[in-house]
């Protein structure tokens, strides 16, 4: 049986979009929804998950150790359920950390890598790419579980409140805040639906959908990169990797998403 595979899905969308009447709007939306549905099967995120699992178990770094003793908040080596409780306060570092910064802490303490060096590495390169793969692996272990971030510690509460205030802060050349796009129900930018992140946007949406594989550029994006690119398009200056601003916003979104189901690793356009 011989066949030539081609981008059938895109052809479906292209055909639908060519119908130039008011009906076209509905057809295009349907076409895109169908395309996305077809993409769910065989999410390339699984390739990153596989890589992440390898990296978790492999002895690496100056200390030639694996990450199998890494404490992501539920005890050393406990991966299942960790993702849906992050970010949270960690006593050993004295700060609230998200998945990516916590993985880097473990890469430093267990394997001997230098966290500042990793934080300065561009997304998709070197050890930063490994952090993304590891984050995909760890997050996938919580797939189907519901978000349940702690708001017990004073720093966790402070992160929520500052995250909320930052969410509404207007800045950049366009006076955009996060709320400009994500502050209302049922809005979209071009044809991309925008979840309202000031409240629980529902299962598998918003905070519950990252890390995700982005088909348009074939890249795996964790929440740090997702936030980074938001600020770029808002015409703000760049958030530093793992900075308080990024953690605060993640806490705000994560707490708002309480009991929403995680579908990570998701797939996006």
């Amino acid at each position: 049986m011989k066949f030539v595979a081609s981008r059938v899905a895109l052809a479906v969308v292209a055909l639908s979009a060519a119908v130039g009447t008011a009906h076209a709007q509905g057809t295009a939306a349907e076409g895109i929804a169908k395309y996305r549905e077809m993409l769910q099967d065989g999410n390339p995120a699984e390739l990153f998950e596989m890589k992440g699992e390898e990296l978790w178990k492999q002895k690496r770094g100056p200390k030639m150790a694996s990450l199998e003793q890494c404490d992501l908040g539920k005890g050393p080596g406990v991966i299942k359920g960790a993702f849906v409780e992050l970010p949270k306060y960690f006593a050993d570092t004295g700060r609230v950390q998200d998945l990516e910064t916590r993985l880097i802490t473990c890469m430093e303490t267990l394997q001997g890598f230098k966290s500042e060096d990793i934080a300065k590495t561009a997304f998709g390169r070197g050890e930063m790419a490994n952090v993304t793969a590891l984050a995909t692996y760890v997050a996938t272990a919580s797939k189907g579980m519901r978000f349940n971030l702690s708001q017990k510690h004073a720093q966790e509460k402070m992160m929520y409140e500052t995250g909320k205030q930052l969410f509404f802060t207007r800045g950049g050349t366009h006076d955009f805040s996060c709320a400009s796009c994500h502050g209302s129900d049922d809005k979209r930018i071009r044809l991309q639906d925008l979840p309202n992140l000031t409240k629980n946007p529902g299962d598998g949406i918003g905070f519950a959908a990252w890390p995700a594989y982005r088909v348009s550029n074939a890249q795996m994006w964790g929440m740090q990169l997702r936030l980074n690119d938001c600020f770029r398009q808002m015409r703000w200056p760049e958030p530093k990797f793992g900075s308080d601003a990024t953690i605060a916003l993640s806490v705000y979104m994560g707490v708002n998403a309480k009991s929403a189901e995680s579908i990570v690793p998701a797939i996006k356009r």
Binding site: V4, A5, S6, R7
Partner: protein
Amino acid sequence: MADPMRIRAAVAGDETTVRVLMSHIMEPGTRRDAAGALIPGHFIRDVEATHNGKVVLEAAFSGAVAQNPFLSFKFKGGAKGDKVVVKWVDNKGDTRTDEAVIA
């Protein structure tokens, strides 16, 4: 060797469904870089799947197939525990072979 494929195979009745996720850059050869020069093509050319040594699928891919290709196909026969082997060869001669057990 190139990054591993992710293969899953399951039998229902007399039909086996195989789903393969391949890790490959699939550069078409028609894109240009910032300087305007053509980026050389680097893509999977041939795909072959066998079941218990017998060929059940042959495919000819081209640069038109997207990065990290996902391939799903069915064949008659196959039983739980049987081996399905998938092999790809790209236009540079790189190759990758992986296998899965039918669930």
